[in-house]
Amino acid sequence: MATPVKVHGPPLSTAVSRVLACLIEKDVPFQLIPVNMAKGEHKSPDFLKIQPFGQVPAFQDEATSLFESRAICRYICEKYPEKGNKGLYGTNPLAKASIDQWVEAEGQSFNPPSSVLVFQLAFAPRMKLKQDQSLISQNEAKLEKVLDVYDKRLGESRFLAGDDFSLADLSHLPNAHYLVNAAERGELFTSKKNVERWWGEISSRDSWKKVVDMQKQST
């Protein structure tokens, strides 16, 4: 029997939870290895060997080490095409191209403003750090524009890349979850009809509920 893959990092980390969601969707057994970031474990020489940028997650599959959550997710989907959700990364090249397009849109357009907002609104207060109001307003405005594009798209298509839930939708779960549940920014999603419908669908998936449970249990 193959050794379970290892994910290093706290489930509260958005990038770590992206990988966990993918592993659970694909029904791939894994071992979660805690990394004590408060103690700077992610900057230790041992950790830097598996993630030279000193960030989480790091990932190991036997002798292979990987990092960057979206690369890890694609690797999991490519290695285990027949397990769990078979269509998560598409079952043909055209489907995959569309999924890649929306994973890139998430990474390039949704992630930057939403990450700033998650940090400023959900993490900074809990870490007793001062919030930057102008950064918050700027990024709310940016994210609104991005979600306007999403709303139009989701009026034409059930999920971002097509008719089926995919890695593209999954990629959004971590930041969106915090915006809705820990930053009081649910209105960003509920004020747009199609985005609201889409968010309701993707956030109620069993796999995401399990990740949220893991996050709660880790506190």
Binding site: P52, T64, F67, Y75, S98, E104, G107, K152
Partner: protein, 215 residues
Amino acid sequence: MAAIKVHGSSLSTAVQRVVACLYEKEVDFQFVAINMAAGEHKSESFLALNPFGQVPAFEDGDLKLFESRAITYYVAHEYADKGTQLLIPGSNKEAAVLQLWAEVEAHQFNSPASALAWELFYKPIFGKETDTAAVEENEAKLGKVLDVYEIRLTESKYLAADYFTLADLYHLPNLQCLLGTSAKKLLEARPHVSAWVEEITVRPAWSKVLAMQKQ
């Protein structure tokens, strides 16, 4: 008439990323110039190709795509047998290493590099004033990223493999901008990074991309 169309401006780094890939793959394409100064990228007809109103937009027959890294990934797979091998065929693990360094470009390198390109390369062209604080901040960030690259490039000839792949190609547009500015010192200060930059920027396919800008 080529089945492949790239809509954009030759000044755009994202457009250059796609065009570099097409030249490497020796695949015919039609370049459809988009007049960004006139706001053409926000027109209804362009938004139908890229709903974010950004360049490039891409067509291959009926297939329409946006996001330069998704487009190039599609091209590299679809035309795997043509031109330069830009992927790592074979095991999932090796392919994943390419994905990893492509993500590093997108999420670690691109932000500070394009911020510096904007401040030091584009703003002077558009007659705008450089923000020196932004330059300092992004030089520090990019320096840290390049420190990781320096170590990686002592272990590996190119980022993802012993040969040039998409992961290296993704860096070309912003690297070229930086070479034309004072920020090139960050590249020159690191011997393996410097050698890598020199090698990849003299590739014939990249020279063709540069030639397009002169037209």
